[in-house]
């Protein structure tokens, strides 16, 4: 079943005084099935983050629409948007976006507290999640006391605790060392196996090679896509690498 459908997205940024126009997205269309693990790749400036922000309803497209289970998210009223985001989307950011005034536990609880859930339920949801993400023993620490990998796993826990329809990850391994990256990607795969839909934007080959499908964006358009099928991570890695090389060289030739 199609969970997310992106249709003909276009985004043009106008500078403040109406001067130069910058086209971030030209015409992007794709869809994500329930339970899929999709990576979107592209170079810096290719429009990846803009795309993710629009899907996350943090930004509005110039034209085109985003449907989540058939509902156009840009048709939702501003006043209900925050609630919609809270209930349906989980976010993982490159720079973690943890609040330094909260302990790890409270950071994870934040979306549930905002939703007005009882404390008992929060604890019940947190326990298995913290075990799975291996953060049970740092729950009482503060963000400045833990490592980057631990911070990102905290952020993942925060994204998952609301049981969202889809997890949106923006360059989640961007600020991590290789060991933490491996650990996080392993966890993403595991979560995905349990049925969680994940949409990840990245320019890391390694991160993308864990996904079930990779979309390539260039100059604001979906250029190409690769399905994993029965490939191993290594084979997927090789294939993505080849595709990127091909894309780049073709780009230079053109």
């Amino acid at each position: 079943m199609t969970l997310l459908e992106v249709r003909n997205l276009k985004k043009v940024y106008t500078t403040r005084f109406g001067g130069a126009k910058v086209q971030a997205l030209a015409n992007v269309s794709f869809s994500v099935e329930e339970g899929e693990y999709v990576a979107i790749m592209g170079e810096s400036g290719s429009g990846k983050t803009t795309l993710l922000n629009i899907i996350a309803s943090l930004d509005k497209p110039t034209s085109g629409e985003v449907l989540l289970r058939g509902v156009n998210i840009h048709g939702i009223k501003e006043s209900q948007l925050a609630e919609f985001r809270r209930d349906n989307l989980g976010f993982v950011f490159q720079d973690f976006n943890l609040l330094d005034t909260f302990s790890v536990r409270d950071n994870i609880f934040l979306p549930l507290v905002l939703a007005g859930r009882p404390y008992r339920e929060m604890e019940a949801r947190l326990k298995p999640l913290a075990e799975k993400l291996e953060i049970s023993d740092i729950l009482n620490k503060f963000p400045y006391e833990i490592s980057g990998g631990q911070k990102q796993r905290t952020a993942v826990a925060r994204a998952l605790i609301t049981k969202p329809q889809i997890v949106l990850a923006d360059e989640p391994t961007g600020a991590l060392d290789s060991k933490s990256t491996d650990q996080l990607l392993r966890m993403f795969s595991e979560i995905n196996r349990e049925g969680q839909t994940i949409l990840m934007v990245t320019h890391s080959l390694k991160a993308a090679s864990h996904a079930g499908r990779v979309l390539f964006i260039k100059d604001g358009e979906v250029y190409h896509q690769i399905y994993r099928g029965a490939m191993s991570n290594e084979a997927m890695y090789q294939k993505i690498s080849d595709t990127l090389t091909a894309l780049t060289t073709r780009g230079y030739q053109a």
Binding site: S79, F91, L114, Y144
Partner: protein, 649 residues
Amino acid sequence: MKINFFPQLALLNLRKNSRVYTPYILASIGTIMMFYILGSMAFDEEGLSRTYGGIQMLAILRLGLIVVGLFSIIFLLYTNSFLIKRRKKELGLYNILGLGKRHLAKMMFFETLYVALISIIAGLLLGMLLSKLMFALLLRIVSFPVPLGFSVSSIGIIVTVLLFGAIYFLALLSNLVQVGKARPIELMRGSQYGEREPKTKWLLALIGVGTLGYGYYIAQTVEAPGQLIGMFFYAVILVIIGTYCLFTAGSIAVLKAMRRNKRFYYRTKNFTSVSGMLYRMKKNAVGLANICILSTMVLVMISTTVSLYIGIDDTVNSIHPAEVQMTMYGEDPSFMEKMNSALDTALTRTGLKEQRRVNYRHFGVSFGSFAKGNGYRSYTFLPLSHYNAIEGENLTLDEGEVIICGSFAGDSLAIEGTDFSAKVKEVRPDFSFADRYIEGATWHVVVKDLDEVYSELSAQIPDNVGDMTCIAGSELGQGAEAEQMLAEELRAALKEIGLAANISLRSEERSQLVSLYGGLLFLGIFLGALFSMATAMIIYYKQVTEGFEDKERFEIMQKVGMSLGEVKKTIRRQILIVFFLPLAAAVVHIAFAFKIITRMLNRLLISNVRLFALCTAATVLGFALVYTVVFALTARSYYKIVRTQAEAA
């Protein structure tokens, strides 16, 4: 390197960091201005000491100067410490890019020099200008001679320059030590290290509770009138210390307790507020304590001077029983008769009709020293006939009975050192002409035969018994001209019978008080306005600096599903609590100071506690209104900073 490289670099840095330096410099200028104005008044010995009550004013002003000086040191050093924290990354970058620690020190020296020069010069100039301006303005509003000249004060300038030069030097020193100790990489991370969760400092919180409690206790219990000013000063210092301790440590202890209560904490409206407040208090506690103390000063200053001024009529009525009166000292029983007959003569000659005749004969017995305050007690004896006439009563007394006015417990009165003792028939409220009423230390004793008691007491304790005072006068109620006429004839009539009584007019007494209290009122309004401005300045400073710090936090909350409406609500709740806490604390301070201030006002001849209570309440309301307006205006700039960012996200 070129000679002027560092001065230029320093200038460039200030310009680049103008967003953080502008509020800092503005706050410094305001502080210096305030200190200078107060200093120029406190050292203006010639102007002040010439006036009635000027010596006390000078003492109060100097106390104020010390408080403002302490406040300046704390405020500026505190502000500086946050400034340097924000700039650590930049300094680290310079360090990595090849500026040695010595070069950094040079650069920072010039930065501090510029800030100091700009602030001190602008502060002094504005201080001179503003004092002149406010002086001229207030002179137009009130119509009495003001004892202050507001000339440029050289001592004021010197003291200001010395104090603030030292403060900036200390700030530079602490910055240099911090940068000198740190490795470049630590500097680079400096601003991140700053976000540690505040620890609960129990000791500090306990000290706060202790000093505040003791200060309040002193204010409630001080008895000795002569010690009032000294004890008041002592209590003020204790309360200031307590305020700082409780705002810094106590607030965090309370917030942490709130956080431990899971049912309370994990609710949408409490969750972000409590945790946000924890960090806000860490940074703002001192600023808020400053606001609290300044607010208290404004409230005390204005409410006391206003109530003194409004209460002039009550005061003058109690110290000057009749409109036109004669006073004689001495026990001769014929004095009253002679004065009354002179009054009759004068009334007949002028053809004036009196509304009421006032006869008041009394003498005082006192123990201990009023000035030193070691167990001061005073009894004023007066005859029943005069009491009944003055108060319009029809009481009776038997032999060996007295009526006591004032607060008195027990059913018999004994005067120490004598065998005098009497049965207390009744305890009544204060006597109308209680010119120096102090609760629990002064009493009016109504006796049947005054002369008998006088001779009995003066024989046994001559040193403690004062002169017999005889007052006779008329209440005319026909204006100043009639008063003058009567006084004129009275003078002649007294001469004829050869009585050297002293004639005084209530209207003259009143105009003397007007000039004294008017001067005080002027000073109160002036200082009140000054401190209000300082308060507004700190609030503005806090709002602006916090806006930048909070915006990131609210951005993240929006990303994880907080709506703009909720963000606004949280912000409002937080800043409301943060900024109205000092006001609330100031009102509590006032409430506890009420008693001791009432007693100090007693010394300035006022006994109308209700009036003072009303004035205090009105001042609190008025100030709260001004505070709210200032808050609303500055909150807008805060919202703007936080929201533009939040909406852009």
